[in-house]
Protein backbone atom coordinates (compact mmCIF):
# COMPACT_ATOMS: atom_id res chain seq x y z
CA UNK A 1 0.00 0.00 0.00
CA UNK A 2 2.87 2.37 0.77
CA UNK A 3 4.19 1.78 -2.67
CA UNK A 4 0.92 2.87 -4.22
CA UNK A 5 0.84 6.12 -2.32
CA UNK A 6 4.42 7.15 -2.92
CA UNK A 7 5.73 5.26 -5.94
CA UNK A 8 9.21 5.88 -7.20
CA UNK A 9 10.22 7.82 -4.15
CA UNK A 10 13.69 6.42 -4.27
CA UNK A 11 14.18 7.15 -7.95
CA UNK A 12 15.55 10.60 -8.53
CA UNK A 13 13.54 11.59 -11.61
CA UNK A 14 10.20 12.10 -9.77
CA UNK A 15 11.99 14.20 -7.20
CA UNK A 16 13.53 16.35 -9.92
CA UNK A 17 10.13 16.83 -11.56
CA UNK A 18 8.64 17.62 -8.16
CA UNK A 19 11.24 20.29 -7.45
CA UNK A 20 10.84 21.84 -10.89
CA UNK A 21 7.05 21.92 -10.89
CA UNK A 22 6.95 22.83 -7.22
CA UNK A 23 9.11 25.87 -7.86
CA UNK A 24 6.95 27.12 -10.74
CA UNK A 25 3.80 26.52 -8.73
CA UNK A 26 5.21 28.19 -5.63
CA UNK A 27 6.25 31.33 -7.49
CA UNK A 28 3.02 31.66 -9.46
CA UNK A 29 0.83 31.00 -6.44
CA UNK A 30 2.74 33.41 -4.24
CA UNK A 31 2.58 36.30 -6.70
CA UNK A 32 -1.09 35.73 -7.52
CA UNK A 33 -1.72 35.23 -3.82
CA UNK A 34 -0.51 38.73 -2.93
CA UNK A 35 -3.51 40.07 -4.83
CA UNK A 36 -5.82 37.37 -3.55
CA UNK A 37 -5.04 38.34 0.03
CA UNK A 38 -5.16 42.07 -0.69
CA UNK A 39 -8.54 41.72 -2.38
CA UNK A 40 -9.85 39.51 0.41
CA UNK A 41 -10.60 36.66 -1.98
CA UNK A 42 -9.06 33.75 -0.11
CA UNK A 43 -12.36 31.94 -0.22
CA UNK A 44 -12.61 32.35 -4.00
CA UNK A 45 -9.04 31.11 -4.32
CA UNK A 46 -9.76 28.06 -2.24
CA UNK A 47 -13.07 27.40 -4.00
CA UNK A 48 -11.47 27.56 -7.43
CA UNK A 49 -9.07 24.84 -6.29
CA UNK A 50 -11.98 22.66 -5.20
CA UNK A 51 -13.96 23.38 -8.35
CA UNK A 52 -10.93 22.60 -10.48
CA UNK A 53 -10.74 19.33 -8.58
CA UNK A 54 -14.20 18.52 -9.89
CA UNK A 55 -12.85 19.05 -13.39
CA UNK A 56 -9.96 16.79 -12.52
CA UNK A 57 -12.26 13.97 -11.46
CA UNK A 58 -14.35 14.55 -14.59
CA UNK A 59 -11.28 14.26 -16.78
CA UNK A 60 -10.31 11.14 -14.83
CA UNK A 61 -13.73 9.72 -15.72
CA UNK A 62 -13.50 10.32 -19.47
CA UNK A 63 -9.82 9.42 -19.59
CA UNK A 64 -8.44 12.84 -20.47
CA UNK A 65 -5.30 14.26 -18.97
CA UNK A 66 -6.40 15.64 -15.60
CA UNK A 67 -4.79 19.01 -16.15
CA UNK A 68 -7.22 19.99 -18.92
CA UNK A 69 -10.14 19.07 -16.70
CA UNK A 70 -8.72 21.16 -13.87
CA UNK A 71 -8.11 24.09 -16.18
CA UNK A 72 -11.49 24.00 -17.94
CA UNK A 73 -13.48 23.85 -14.71
CA UNK A 74 -11.30 26.40 -12.97
CA UNK A 75 -11.61 29.00 -15.69
CA UNK A 76 -15.34 28.37 -16.16
CA UNK A 77 -15.88 28.78 -12.42
CA UNK A 78 -13.86 31.99 -12.38
CA UNK A 79 -16.06 33.50 -15.07
CA UNK A 80 -19.18 32.27 -13.30
CA UNK A 81 -18.06 33.78 -10.00
CA UNK A 82 -17.69 37.15 -11.64
CA UNK A 83 -21.01 36.89 -13.50
CA UNK A 84 -23.19 35.93 -10.53
CA UNK A 85 -20.98 37.51 -7.90
CA UNK A 86 -22.11 40.77 -6.45
CA UNK A 87 -19.60 43.42 -5.62
CA UNK A 88 -20.16 43.50 -1.88
CA UNK A 89 -17.85 41.13 -0.10
CA UNK A 90 -20.50 39.23 1.76
CA UNK A 91 -22.67 38.63 -1.29
CA UNK A 92 -19.60 37.55 -3.16
CA UNK A 93 -18.79 34.93 -0.53
CA UNK A 94 -22.30 33.52 -0.75
CA UNK A 95 -22.11 33.36 -4.56
CA UNK A 96 -18.74 31.66 -4.25
CA UNK A 97 -20.23 29.22 -1.78
CA UNK A 98 -23.10 28.30 -4.09
CA UNK A 99 -20.77 27.71 -7.04
CA UNK A 100 -18.53 25.64 -4.79
CA UNK A 101 -21.46 23.64 -3.45
CA UNK A 102 -22.71 22.80 -6.95
CA UNK A 103 -19.21 21.86 -8.06
CA UNK A 104 -18.73 19.59 -5.05
CA UNK A 105 -21.98 17.88 -5.93
CA UNK A 106 -20.66 17.25 -9.43
CA UNK A 107 -17.42 15.98 -7.94
CA UNK A 108 -19.39 13.46 -5.89
CA UNK A 109 -21.08 12.27 -9.07
CA UNK A 110 -17.87 12.06 -11.09
CA UNK A 111 -16.03 10.18 -8.38
CA UNK A 112 -18.95 7.81 -7.97
CA UNK A 113 -19.16 7.14 -11.70
CA UNK A 114 -15.40 6.76 -11.79
CA UNK A 115 -15.51 4.15 -9.05
CA UNK A 116 -18.13 2.26 -11.07
CA UNK A 117 -15.72 1.98 -13.98
CA UNK A 118 -12.63 0.94 -12.15
CA UNK A 119 -12.05 0.08 -8.55
CA UNK A 120 -9.78 3.04 -7.86
CA UNK A 121 -11.04 4.26 -4.53
CA UNK A 122 -7.77 6.11 -4.16
CA UNK A 123 -8.86 8.52 -6.90
CA UNK A 124 -10.66 10.85 -4.52
CA UNK A 125 -7.61 10.95 -2.33
CA UNK A 126 -5.18 11.66 -5.15
CA UNK A 127 -7.43 14.28 -6.69
CA UNK A 128 -7.94 16.09 -3.41
CA UNK A 129 -4.56 15.79 -1.83
CA UNK A 130 -2.49 15.29 -4.94
CA UNK A 131 1.02 14.08 -4.85
CA UNK A 132 3.89 16.08 -6.13
CA UNK A 133 5.86 12.88 -6.61
CA UNK A 134 3.46 11.38 -9.17
CA UNK A 135 3.30 14.16 -11.74
CA UNK A 136 3.42 12.71 -15.24
CA UNK A 137 6.50 14.09 -16.98
CA UNK A 138 4.44 14.62 -20.15
CA UNK A 139 2.31 17.22 -18.34
CA UNK A 140 5.28 19.24 -17.16
CA UNK A 141 5.60 21.58 -20.20
CA UNK A 142 1.88 22.43 -20.06
CA UNK A 143 2.13 23.05 -16.32
CA UNK A 144 5.10 25.37 -16.68
CA UNK A 145 3.59 27.22 -19.66
CA UNK A 146 0.32 27.91 -17.85
CA UNK A 147 2.18 29.04 -14.76
CA UNK A 148 4.17 31.51 -16.83
CA UNK A 149 1.00 32.77 -18.55
CA UNK A 150 -0.73 33.39 -15.23
CA UNK A 151 2.36 35.13 -13.94
CA UNK A 152 2.61 37.39 -17.01
CA UNK A 153 -1.07 38.35 -16.76
CA UNK A 154 -0.71 39.24 -13.10
CA UNK A 155 2.53 41.20 -13.51
CA UNK A 156 1.18 43.07 -16.54
CA UNK A 157 -1.97 43.95 -14.64
CA UNK A 158 -0.32 44.55 -11.29
CA UNK A 159 -0.58 48.34 -11.21
CA UNK A 160 -4.21 48.38 -12.28
CA UNK A 161 -4.99 45.44 -10.02
CA UNK A 162 -3.50 47.15 -7.04
CA UNK A 163 -5.53 50.26 -7.70
CA UNK A 164 -8.77 48.35 -8.16
CA UNK A 165 -8.02 46.24 -5.09
CA UNK A 166 -7.30 49.11 -2.75
CA UNK A 167 -9.72 51.74 -3.99
CA UNK A 168 -12.13 50.54 -6.66
CA UNK A 169 -13.90 53.89 -6.72
CA UNK A 170 -10.75 55.83 -7.57
CA UNK A 171 -9.94 53.25 -10.23
CA UNK A 172 -13.40 53.57 -11.74
CA UNK A 173 -13.13 57.35 -11.70
CA UNK A 174 -9.86 57.15 -13.59
CA UNK A 175 -11.53 55.12 -16.30
CA UNK A 176 -10.13 51.72 -15.31
CA UNK A 177 -12.51 48.96 -16.42
CA UNK A 178 -12.81 47.51 -12.90
CA UNK A 179 -15.04 44.63 -13.93
CA UNK A 180 -12.80 43.51 -16.81
CA UNK A 181 -9.74 43.72 -14.58
CA UNK A 182 -11.58 41.61 -12.03
CA UNK A 183 -12.36 38.95 -14.64
CA UNK A 184 -8.78 38.91 -15.96
CA UNK A 185 -7.51 38.55 -12.43
CA UNK A 186 -9.92 35.74 -11.61
CA UNK A 187 -8.95 33.87 -14.77
CA UNK A 188 -5.26 34.22 -13.88
CA UNK A 189 -6.14 33.01 -10.39
CA UNK A 190 -8.02 30.06 -11.87
CA UNK A 191 -5.09 29.10 -14.10
CA UNK A 192 -2.65 29.35 -11.24
CA UNK A 193 -4.91 27.43 -8.88
CA UNK A 194 -5.67 24.65 -11.38
CA UNK A 195 -1.99 24.36 -12.06
CA UNK A 196 -1.16 24.06 -8.40
CA UNK A 197 -4.02 21.72 -7.58
CA UNK A 198 -3.17 19.29 -10.35
CA UNK A 199 0.47 19.39 -9.29
CA UNK A 200 0.17 19.34 -5.55
CA UNK A 201 -3.51 18.88 -4.71
CA UNK A 202 -6.30 21.24 -3.77
CA UNK A 203 -5.14 21.45 -0.16
CA UNK A 204 -1.64 22.59 -0.94
CA UNK A 205 -2.90 24.88 -3.62
CA UNK A 206 -4.65 27.06 -1.04
CA UNK A 207 -1.74 26.82 1.35
CA UNK A 208 0.74 28.10 -1.23
CA UNK A 209 -1.67 30.74 -2.51
CA UNK A 210 -2.55 32.31 0.82
CA UNK A 211 0.26 31.45 3.24
CA UNK A 212 3.38 32.97 1.63
CA UNK A 213 1.43 36.01 0.39
CA UNK A 214 -0.12 36.72 3.77
CA UNK A 215 3.26 36.27 5.44
CA UNK A 216 4.99 38.57 2.95
CA UNK A 217 2.31 41.24 3.28
CA UNK A 218 2.99 41.35 6.99
CA UNK A 219 6.74 41.84 6.71
CA UNK A 220 7.43 43.50 3.35
CA UNK A 221 6.96 47.14 2.47
CA UNK A 222 5.18 47.84 -0.79
CA UNK A 223 3.57 45.52 -3.32
CA UNK A 224 6.67 44.67 -5.38
CA UNK A 225 8.67 43.65 -2.35
CA UNK A 226 5.68 41.73 -1.08
CA UNK A 227 5.49 39.76 -4.35
CA UNK A 228 9.21 38.99 -4.31
CA UNK A 229 9.16 38.03 -0.63
CA UNK A 230 6.09 35.86 -1.13
CA UNK A 231 7.72 34.05 -4.04
CA UNK A 232 10.86 33.49 -1.98
CA UNK A 233 8.89 32.11 0.96
CA UNK A 234 6.83 29.92 -1.35
CA UNK A 235 9.89 28.42 -3.01
CA UNK A 236 11.64 27.93 0.33
CA UNK A 237 8.74 26.08 1.96
CA UNK A 238 8.20 23.95 -1.14
CA UNK A 239 11.83 22.86 -1.36
CA UNK A 240 12.08 22.24 2.34
CA UNK A 241 8.78 20.35 2.30
CA UNK A 242 9.92 18.09 -0.54
CA UNK A 243 13.21 17.46 1.22
CA UNK A 244 11.52 16.61 4.51
CA UNK A 245 8.99 14.36 2.80
CA UNK A 246 11.81 12.55 1.06
CA UNK A 247 13.68 12.15 4.32
CA UNK A 248 10.61 11.10 6.24
CA UNK A 249 10.84 7.77 4.48
CA UNK A 250 13.36 6.84 7.15
CA UNK A 251 11.21 8.15 9.99
CA UNK A 252 8.76 6.06 11.96
CA UNK A 253 6.59 4.26 11.21
CA UNK A 254 8.47 1.60 9.24
CA UNK A 255 9.82 3.17 6.07
CA UNK A 256 6.65 4.99 5.10
CA UNK A 257 7.02 8.50 3.77
CA UNK A 258 4.90 11.27 5.25
CA UNK A 259 2.90 13.24 2.70
CA UNK A 260 4.64 16.25 1.24
CA UNK A 261 1.44 18.29 1.56
CA UNK A 262 1.62 17.96 5.32
CA UNK A 263 5.15 19.33 5.47
CA UNK A 264 4.51 22.24 3.13
CA UNK A 265 1.33 23.23 4.95
CA UNK A 266 3.04 23.01 8.31
CA UNK A 267 5.95 25.14 7.11
CA UNK A 268 3.60 27.71 5.58
CA UNK A 269 1.69 28.07 8.83
CA UNK A 270 4.88 28.25 10.88
CA UNK A 271 6.24 30.97 8.59
CA UNK A 272 3.06 32.95 9.00
CA UNK A 273 3.04 32.58 12.77
CA UNK A 274 6.67 33.70 12.95
CA UNK A 275 5.65 37.12 11.66
CA UNK A 276 3.79 37.65 14.90
CA UNK A 277 7.03 37.43 16.83
CA UNK A 278 8.60 39.93 14.52
CA UNK A 279 7.99 43.62 15.26
CA UNK A 280 4.29 43.90 15.93
CA UNK A 281 4.53 47.69 15.41
CA UNK A 282 4.77 47.01 11.68
CA UNK A 283 1.14 46.08 11.71
CA UNK A 284 0.04 49.66 11.86
CA UNK A 285 2.03 50.62 8.80
CA UNK A 286 -0.17 49.27 6.06
CA UNK A 287 -3.70 49.13 7.32
CA UNK A 288 -5.21 47.87 4.10
CA UNK A 289 -2.79 45.04 3.59
CA UNK A 290 -1.93 43.37 6.84
CA UNK A 291 -4.51 44.08 9.48
CA UNK A 292 -8.12 43.19 9.84
CA UNK A 293 -10.37 45.55 8.00
CA UNK A 294 -13.77 46.42 9.20
CA UNK A 295 -14.94 42.92 8.67
CA UNK A 296 -18.64 43.31 8.76
CA UNK A 297 -20.14 45.37 6.04
CA UNK A 298 -23.40 46.87 7.07
CA UNK A 299 -26.16 46.03 4.69
CA UNK A 300 -27.39 49.19 3.06
Amino acid sequence: MHWLIEPGLLASSPVRVAVLVGTVVAITSAVVGVFTVTRGQSFAGHSLADVATTGGSGAFLVGLNQFWGFLAFGVAAAVMLEVIGVQRRRGRDVATGVVLGAALGLAALFLYLGSQHSSTTGASFTVLFGSIFVIQPSTVPALIASGVIALIVIVALSRVLLLTSLSPDVAAARGVPVRAVGVAYLVALAISVSLSSVAIGAVLSTALLIGPAATALRVAKGPVRAMVTAAAIGVAVTWLGILLAYDSYYWPPHGHAWPVSFFIVALVVVAYLLTYLHRPARRRRSPSLGTPRAEVEVGA
Binding site: H46, D93, F262
Partner: protein, 279 residues
Protein backbone atom coordinates in the same frame (compact mmCIF):
# COMPACT_ATOMS: atom_id res chain seq x y z
CA UNK B 1 -38.15 3.31 -0.34
CA UNK B 2 -39.62 3.56 3.15
CA UNK B 3 -38.56 0.16 4.43
CA UNK B 4 -36.75 -0.40 7.73
CA UNK B 5 -33.23 0.77 7.05
CA UNK B 6 -34.38 3.54 4.76
CA UNK B 7 -36.41 5.01 7.61
CA UNK B 8 -33.15 5.75 9.42
CA UNK B 9 -31.94 7.56 6.34
CA UNK B 10 -35.08 9.66 6.11
CA UNK B 11 -35.01 10.57 9.80
CA UNK B 12 -31.28 11.37 9.87
CA UNK B 13 -31.45 13.43 6.70
CA UNK B 14 -34.45 15.35 8.01
CA UNK B 15 -32.62 16.21 11.24
CA UNK B 16 -29.54 17.26 9.29
CA UNK B 17 -31.55 19.44 6.93
CA UNK B 18 -33.20 21.25 9.83
CA UNK B 19 -29.85 21.89 11.53
CA UNK B 20 -28.21 22.96 8.28
CA UNK B 21 -31.09 25.28 7.45
CA UNK B 22 -30.93 27.11 10.77
CA UNK B 23 -27.13 27.26 11.07
CA UNK B 24 -26.82 28.10 7.38
CA UNK B 25 -29.15 31.06 7.67
CA UNK B 26 -26.79 32.71 10.13
CA UNK B 27 -23.71 31.64 8.20
CA UNK B 28 -25.06 33.40 5.10
CA UNK B 29 -26.28 36.39 7.08
CA UNK B 30 -22.95 36.90 8.83
CA UNK B 31 -20.83 36.20 5.77
CA UNK B 32 -19.27 33.18 7.46
CA UNK B 33 -19.53 31.11 4.29
CA UNK B 34 -15.85 30.31 4.28
CA UNK B 35 -15.97 29.17 7.90
CA UNK B 36 -18.99 27.02 7.02
CA UNK B 37 -16.82 25.33 4.44
CA UNK B 38 -13.68 25.17 6.56
CA UNK B 39 -15.09 23.74 9.80
CA UNK B 40 -16.75 20.58 8.39
CA UNK B 41 -13.83 20.05 6.05
CA UNK B 42 -11.29 20.37 8.80
CA UNK B 43 -13.36 18.15 11.05
CA UNK B 44 -12.85 15.43 8.52
CA UNK B 45 -9.17 15.39 9.49
CA UNK B 46 -10.28 14.63 13.03
CA UNK B 47 -12.18 11.60 11.85
CA UNK B 48 -9.09 10.39 10.03
CA UNK B 49 -7.06 10.87 13.21
CA UNK B 50 -9.62 9.08 15.35
CA UNK B 51 -9.62 6.10 13.03
CA UNK B 52 -5.83 6.08 13.11
CA UNK B 53 -5.65 5.74 16.87
CA UNK B 54 -8.78 3.62 17.06
CA UNK B 55 -10.95 6.20 18.80
CA UNK B 56 -14.59 7.01 18.12
CA UNK B 57 -15.02 8.89 14.84
CA UNK B 58 -17.61 11.25 16.32
CA UNK B 59 -15.14 12.22 19.02
CA UNK B 60 -12.45 12.97 16.46
CA UNK B 61 -14.88 15.05 14.43
CA UNK B 62 -15.98 16.98 17.50
CA UNK B 63 -12.44 17.67 18.70
CA UNK B 64 -11.24 18.91 15.33
CA UNK B 65 -14.28 20.96 14.48
CA UNK B 66 -14.20 22.70 17.86
CA UNK B 67 -10.45 23.25 17.51
CA UNK B 68 -11.06 24.67 14.04
CA UNK B 69 -13.77 27.00 15.31
CA UNK B 70 -11.56 28.21 18.16
CA UNK B 71 -8.67 28.66 15.74
CA UNK B 72 -10.70 30.65 13.22
CA UNK B 73 -12.34 32.70 15.95
CA UNK B 74 -9.21 33.66 17.86
CA UNK B 75 -6.83 33.84 14.92
CA UNK B 76 -9.35 35.87 12.95
CA UNK B 77 -9.02 38.72 15.42
CA UNK B 78 -5.36 39.15 14.65
CA UNK B 79 -5.29 38.54 10.92
CA UNK B 80 -7.66 39.11 8.06
CA UNK B 81 -10.59 36.84 8.65
CA UNK B 82 -10.46 35.03 5.33
CA UNK B 83 -6.70 34.54 5.58
CA UNK B 84 -7.07 33.07 9.06
CA UNK B 85 -9.83 30.76 7.89
CA UNK B 86 -7.82 29.62 4.86
CA UNK B 87 -4.73 28.91 6.95
CA UNK B 88 -6.63 27.02 9.64
CA UNK B 89 -8.40 25.01 6.94
CA UNK B 90 -5.23 24.00 5.13
CA UNK B 91 -3.50 23.24 8.40
CA UNK B 92 -6.26 20.85 9.42
CA UNK B 93 -6.39 19.29 5.96
CA UNK B 94 -2.63 18.90 5.95
CA UNK B 95 -2.81 17.09 9.26
CA UNK B 96 -5.66 15.03 7.80
CA UNK B 97 -3.48 14.08 4.83
CA UNK B 98 -0.83 12.93 7.27
CA UNK B 99 -3.32 10.85 9.27
CA UNK B 100 -4.72 9.27 6.13
CA UNK B 101 -1.32 8.37 4.79
CA UNK B 102 -0.19 6.93 8.13
CA UNK B 103 -3.26 4.76 8.50
CA UNK B 104 -3.57 2.52 5.50
CA UNK B 105 -7.03 1.32 4.55
CA UNK B 106 -8.70 4.65 4.60
CA UNK B 107 -9.53 5.51 1.00
CA UNK B 108 -13.12 4.27 1.10
CA UNK B 109 -13.75 5.93 4.42
CA UNK B 110 -12.26 9.15 3.08
CA UNK B 111 -14.81 9.12 0.32
CA UNK B 112 -17.70 8.48 2.68
CA UNK B 113 -16.63 11.19 5.13
CA UNK B 114 -16.31 13.72 2.34
CA UNK B 115 -19.44 12.78 0.46
CA UNK B 116 -21.49 11.08 3.14
CA UNK B 117 -22.93 7.64 3.69
CA UNK B 118 -26.55 8.50 4.02
CA UNK B 119 -27.85 5.04 3.12
CA UNK B 120 -25.82 3.24 5.74
CA UNK B 121 -27.02 4.94 8.89
CA UNK B 122 -27.36 2.75 11.93
CA UNK B 123 -30.32 3.48 14.22
CA UNK B 124 -28.16 4.09 17.27
CA UNK B 125 -26.63 7.28 15.84
CA UNK B 126 -30.07 8.85 15.39
CA UNK B 127 -30.44 9.70 19.06
CA UNK B 128 -27.07 11.50 19.47
CA UNK B 129 -27.60 13.35 16.19
CA UNK B 130 -31.07 14.38 17.29
CA UNK B 131 -29.95 15.54 20.73
CA UNK B 132 -26.89 17.45 19.53
CA UNK B 133 -28.91 18.93 16.68
CA UNK B 134 -31.65 20.08 19.03
CA UNK B 135 -29.00 21.56 21.33
CA UNK B 136 -27.34 23.56 18.57
CA UNK B 137 -30.64 24.84 17.17
CA UNK B 138 -31.73 25.77 20.69
CA UNK B 139 -28.44 27.55 21.34
CA UNK B 140 -28.86 29.54 18.13
CA UNK B 141 -32.38 30.53 19.09
CA UNK B 142 -31.15 31.66 22.51
CA UNK B 143 -28.56 33.97 21.00
CA UNK B 144 -30.84 34.92 18.11
CA UNK B 145 -31.10 38.60 19.02
CA UNK B 146 -27.38 39.25 19.66
CA UNK B 147 -26.60 37.31 16.49
CA UNK B 148 -28.95 39.44 14.42
CA UNK B 149 -27.76 42.64 16.06
CA UNK B 150 -24.03 41.98 15.63
CA UNK B 151 -24.61 40.90 12.03
CA UNK B 152 -26.69 43.85 10.94
CA UNK B 153 -25.44 46.66 13.18
CA UNK B 154 -22.13 45.82 14.87
CA UNK B 155 -21.67 49.37 16.19
CA UNK B 156 -25.06 49.43 17.84
CA UNK B 157 -24.38 46.00 19.29
CA UNK B 158 -21.07 47.15 20.73
CA UNK B 159 -22.72 50.24 22.19
CA UNK B 160 -25.29 48.05 23.89
CA UNK B 161 -22.56 45.96 25.44
CA UNK B 162 -22.89 42.97 23.15
CA UNK B 163 -19.40 41.83 22.23
CA UNK B 164 -19.35 40.96 18.52
CA UNK B 165 -16.28 38.81 19.07
CA UNK B 166 -17.88 36.75 21.77
CA UNK B 167 -21.00 36.31 19.66
CA UNK B 168 -18.85 35.32 16.68
CA UNK B 169 -17.00 32.76 18.79
CA UNK B 170 -20.25 31.35 20.16
CA UNK B 171 -21.64 31.08 16.65
CA UNK B 172 -18.54 29.31 15.33
CA UNK B 173 -18.66 26.85 18.23
CA UNK B 174 -22.32 26.10 17.57
CA UNK B 175 -21.47 25.56 13.93
CA UNK B 176 -18.70 23.19 14.98
CA UNK B 177 -21.08 21.27 17.23
CA UNK B 178 -23.67 21.10 14.47
CA UNK B 179 -21.25 19.93 11.81
CA UNK B 180 -19.41 17.38 13.89
CA UNK B 181 -22.38 15.08 14.05
CA UNK B 182 -23.77 15.78 10.61
CA UNK B 183 -20.53 15.07 8.75
CA UNK B 184 -20.82 11.27 9.03
CA UNK B 185 -24.36 11.47 7.66
CA UNK B 186 -24.06 13.80 4.68
CA UNK B 187 -20.30 14.25 4.45
CA UNK B 188 -18.11 17.29 4.98
CA UNK B 189 -18.59 18.67 1.50
CA UNK B 190 -22.35 18.25 1.40
CA UNK B 191 -22.91 19.72 4.82
CA UNK B 192 -21.53 22.89 3.31
CA UNK B 193 -23.80 22.77 0.24
CA UNK B 194 -26.78 22.12 2.46
CA UNK B 195 -25.97 25.07 4.71
CA UNK B 196 -25.38 27.64 1.99
CA UNK B 197 -27.74 26.91 -0.93
CA UNK B 198 -31.11 26.85 0.86
CA UNK B 199 -30.18 29.67 3.25
CA UNK B 200 -28.98 31.97 0.48
CA UNK B 201 -32.14 31.26 -1.48
CA UNK B 202 -34.32 31.97 1.57
CA UNK B 203 -32.65 35.34 2.05
CA UNK B 204 -33.49 36.27 -1.51
CA UNK B 205 -37.17 35.58 -0.93
CA UNK B 206 -37.65 37.52 2.28
CA UNK B 207 -35.91 40.06 4.48
CA UNK B 208 -37.80 38.98 7.59
CA UNK B 209 -35.42 36.88 9.70
CA UNK B 210 -37.86 34.39 11.21
CA UNK B 211 -39.53 33.74 7.88
CA UNK B 212 -36.11 33.35 6.26
CA UNK B 213 -35.11 30.73 8.87
CA UNK B 214 -38.32 28.81 8.23
CA UNK B 215 -37.88 29.06 4.45
CA UNK B 216 -34.25 28.01 4.73
CA UNK B 217 -35.24 24.90 6.67
CA UNK B 218 -38.06 24.19 4.21
CA UNK B 219 -35.74 24.47 1.20
CA UNK B 220 -33.20 22.26 2.95
CA UNK B 221 -35.85 19.63 3.64
CA UNK B 222 -37.12 19.70 0.05
CA UNK B 223 -33.52 19.39 -1.17
CA UNK B 224 -32.66 16.32 0.90
CA UNK B 225 -36.02 14.63 0.44
CA UNK B 226 -35.97 14.98 -3.34
CA UNK B 227 -32.27 14.10 -3.30
CA UNK B 228 -32.80 10.89 -1.33
CA UNK B 229 -35.74 9.82 -3.46
CA UNK B 230 -33.87 10.26 -6.74
CA UNK B 231 -30.66 8.92 -5.29
CA UNK B 232 -32.51 5.80 -4.13
CA UNK B 233 -33.94 5.25 -7.58
CA UNK B 234 -30.85 6.04 -9.65
CA UNK B 235 -28.07 4.97 -7.27
CA UNK B 236 -26.28 8.24 -7.99
CA UNK B 237 -24.72 9.90 -4.96
CA UNK B 238 -26.96 12.09 -2.82
CA UNK B 239 -24.29 14.78 -2.82
CA UNK B 240 -24.80 15.45 -6.47
CA UNK B 241 -28.50 16.18 -6.00
CA UNK B 242 -27.95 18.23 -2.88
CA UNK B 243 -25.34 20.39 -4.62
CA UNK B 244 -27.38 20.90 -7.76
CA UNK B 245 -30.71 21.50 -5.99
CA UNK B 246 -29.04 23.97 -3.63
CA UNK B 247 -27.71 25.94 -6.58
CA UNK B 248 -31.10 25.74 -8.30
CA UNK B 249 -32.82 27.17 -5.22
CA UNK B 250 -30.26 29.95 -5.04
CA UNK B 251 -30.69 30.89 -8.70
CA UNK B 252 -34.48 30.86 -8.35
CA UNK B 253 -34.14 33.11 -5.33
CA UNK B 254 -31.89 35.52 -7.19
CA UNK B 255 -34.25 35.63 -10.17
CA UNK B 256 -37.16 36.26 -7.83
CA UNK B 257 -35.27 39.00 -5.97
CA UNK B 258 -34.31 40.82 -9.15
CA UNK B 259 -37.84 40.52 -10.50
CA UNK B 260 -39.31 41.87 -7.29
CA UNK B 261 -36.62 44.53 -7.08
CA UNK B 262 -37.62 45.81 -10.48
CA UNK B 263 -41.27 45.82 -9.51
CA UNK B 264 -40.46 47.60 -6.24
CA UNK B 265 -38.41 50.15 -8.10
CA UNK B 266 -41.28 50.84 -10.47
CA UNK B 267 -43.80 51.24 -7.67
CA UNK B 268 -41.34 53.34 -5.72
CA UNK B 269 -40.87 55.63 -8.65
CA UNK B 270 -44.60 56.09 -9.05
CA UNK B 271 -45.36 56.64 -5.38
CA UNK B 272 -42.00 58.17 -4.36
CA UNK B 273 -42.14 56.49 -0.96
CA UNK B 274 -38.75 55.28 0.26
CA UNK B 275 -38.86 51.56 0.89
CA UNK B 276 -37.25 50.12 3.98
CA UNK B 277 -33.61 49.12 3.84
CA UNK B 278 -33.12 45.61 2.59
CA UNK B 279 -29.78 43.97 3.19
Amino acid sequence: MFSGFMMNTWIAATIVAVIAGVVGFFAVLRGSTFAAHAIPNGAFAGAAGASLIGANTLLGLAVFSVAGALGIGSFGRKARHDVATALILVLMLGIGALFISLGDQYAQETYSLLFGEVFGISPDVLLPIGILGALSVLALLVIFRPLMLTSAMPEVAAARGVSPRRVEMAFLLIMALATSMTVPVVGALLMFSLMIGPAAAARSFTARPWLAVVLSVAFGLITVWIGIAISYETDWPLGFFVGVLGAAFFLTGRAWASLRGRRLLRSRRSSAVPASANA
